[in-house]
Amino acid sequence: MMSQTLNVDQIRKDFPILSRRLHGNKALVYLDSTATAQKPVTVIRAMEDYYNQTNANIHRGVHTLAEEATAAYEGARERIAKFIGARHAREVIFTRNTTESINLVAYSWARKNLVSGDVVILTEMEHHSNLVPWQILADERGIRLEFIPVTEEGELDLLTYQNLLELRPKLVAFSQMSNVLGTINPAREIIEMAHRAGAVTLIDGAQSVPHLPVDVQQLGADFLAFSAHKMCGPTGIGVLYGRRDLLEAMPPFLGGGDMIKRVTLRSFSPNELPHKFEAGTPAIAEVIGFGAAVDYLIQMGMNNIAAHEHAITRYALDRLSEISGLKLIGPSAEKKGGVCAFTMEGIHPHDIAQLLDREGIAVRAGHHCAMPLHQRYGLPATTRASFYLYNTFDEVDLLAEALERAKELFG
C-alpha cells in the first residue's frame, strides 16, 4: 500500500540508518520516532560541513570563519522562526531541549510573576518535563497546581477546564500532542479560553511541532517549547519560542558570556533578545543541523507529513485491534497523531519490546515519562509504536505479525 501524500520509498533513501540490518540480517523497522527521530543525510552533512569547513565561535570573532559560523547560526534561527510562524527571529531562544525550555519559563517568567497561592493549570497527560518543573516551583513558592482531567477515551475534559479557569490561573501549560495517547489537543481553543481568564499559556510542542503544521500566531501562543531531535535534527538543541513582550520583561535564566551587554565586578546589564537567554557558547553545529532539519521538513511539507502519519496510524489501529488480547489506549485515528500505545494480556511491555527487537523492530516500553497518565489508566507500563514520515504500511504489517508470534510464545 502506498501513501498518496509522500514518496516514502524516496524519503527512506535520505536516511542512512534505515538501511541498517540487525540480528541476522533483519531490516530495521524503526517505530520509536516519538522518542527520537532518525536524521536525514542533509542534517548529518550540514553538521559535518560545519566542522570541516567553518568551525569557529560565534558573535565575537571578526575573522572569516567566525563570521560564517555566526551567519549560519543566526540563519538557522531565522528559518526556524519562520517555520513556526514567529513574528521575529529574536523570539526564538535556543536551549538544550524541550525540558530546558520549560524550565526556562519556570525559573525566569514564573519566579518573577507568580506568588504563593497563584494557580497553574496543567493536564493529566503531561510528560514529566511539563510536570516536575512546576512541582519544584509549587514546593518552593506555594504555587497551587490544578490538572485538566483526561477522559477514558484519552481526551482533555474541557468542561472541567472551563470550571478550573474560574480559579483565575496565572498560567496554563499543556502538551499539544500526547506522547503516549497521541491525542492532538485543541490548542487554539485551550489558549483562547486561558486568555479570556487572564492566563499566560505554554505549549509543550515536543510532539506536535515535528508532526503537525504549527503556527504560533495562528494559535495565539505565548510560549512554545520543542526539541530538534524529534524532528529529524540533532540531540542537544531545542527552542523556547516566547512572545517578545513576555521575553523582554523576563529576567535572565543562566548567567555568563554572550548574555550580557556590560559587566562590572559587581553588576551586569543583560544583552538584548535572544542573546539574553543564551549564556555561554551554544551548540553551534547542532543549531546548524537543526536548520537543515527544518529545511528538510519544509521541503517534504508539514501537511503532507501529517496526512501520511494519519493514514498509517489509521491502518495501524485497524491491524492492531485485530489481535486478540491487545488493548489500545488513546482516541480514535481522527483525533490523534502517529502514536499507538497498547498492552497485551499476559505479556509485560518490556517482554514485547524485547521480542520485537529480535525481529529488528524498535518500539518503546515503559511509562514513556508519563507516570501519572499511566496511573490514570491503572497501567504500570505500555508498549508504544510511533510513526514518522519514513515509515511504511509494510512495517505496520511486520509489527502486527511479530506481535502475533509474541502472543503464541507466551500463550
Partner: protein, 135 residues
C-alpha cells in the same frame, strides 16, 4: 522466537511458586525500577538460627524481573541469611541461565536481588552497589 525467553523464564513467570505475601514476616522490603516501573516486594520469615524458612514476592513487572524473583526465592529457602547475603549478581544470572543481558534488562533481572539484600541489611533504599560485581 528468542533465546532470552527460555522455557524456565516463561514457566516461572506464568506459574511462580513463591508469589504472595507473608503476614506476619520478619523481613519485608519493596522497591521499584524507576526506569521502567517494575516493582517487587519480598517478605521473609527467618527462624532463631537465622535461617530463611519462608519467602514470598509480590509486585508486577516483565517476565525477566518476575521469573528472577521466583528463582531467587527458590534458591534461598532453608539457607542462613549470612549465606543469602553472599549471593552475587553472577549467581542470579546463572540461576536465570542468562548471559549477555543488555544494561536495561540487567536492571530488570537484578531488581529482586537488590530488594532482597536491602531488606536483609535493613537499608532504607536499594542501591546498585548491593549487586555490583564484587571482588
Amino acid at each position: 522466537m528468542d533465546d532470552l525467553y527460555r522455557e524456565v523464564i516463561i514457566e516461572h513467570y506464568k506459574n511462580p511458586t513463591y508469589r504472595g505475601v507473608l503476614d506476619p514476616h520478619d523481613i519485608s522490603f519493596e522497591d521499584e525500577n524507576p526506569l521502567c516501573g517494575d516493582q517487587i516486594r519480598i517478605d521473609l520469615r527467618v527462624n532463631d538460627a537465622g535461617v530463611v524458612t519462608e519467602a514470598a514476592f509480590s509486585g508486577h513487572g516483565c517476565a525477566i524481573s518476575q521469573a528472577s524473583a521466583d528463582l531467587l526465592l527458590e534458591s534461598i529457602v532453608n539457607k542462613p541469611l549470612e549465606e543469602v547475603k553472599k549471593i552475587s549478581k553472577q549467581d542470579l544470572l546463572d540461576l536465570l541461565g542468562l548471559e549477555n543481558l543488555g544494561p536495561v534488562r540487567l536492571k530488570c533481572a537484578l531488581l529482586s536481588l537488590k530488594v532482597l539484600k536491602a531488606g536483609i541489611y535493613g537499608l532504607g533504599e536499594t542501591d546498585d552497589l548491593l549487586v555490583e560485581e564484587e571482588e
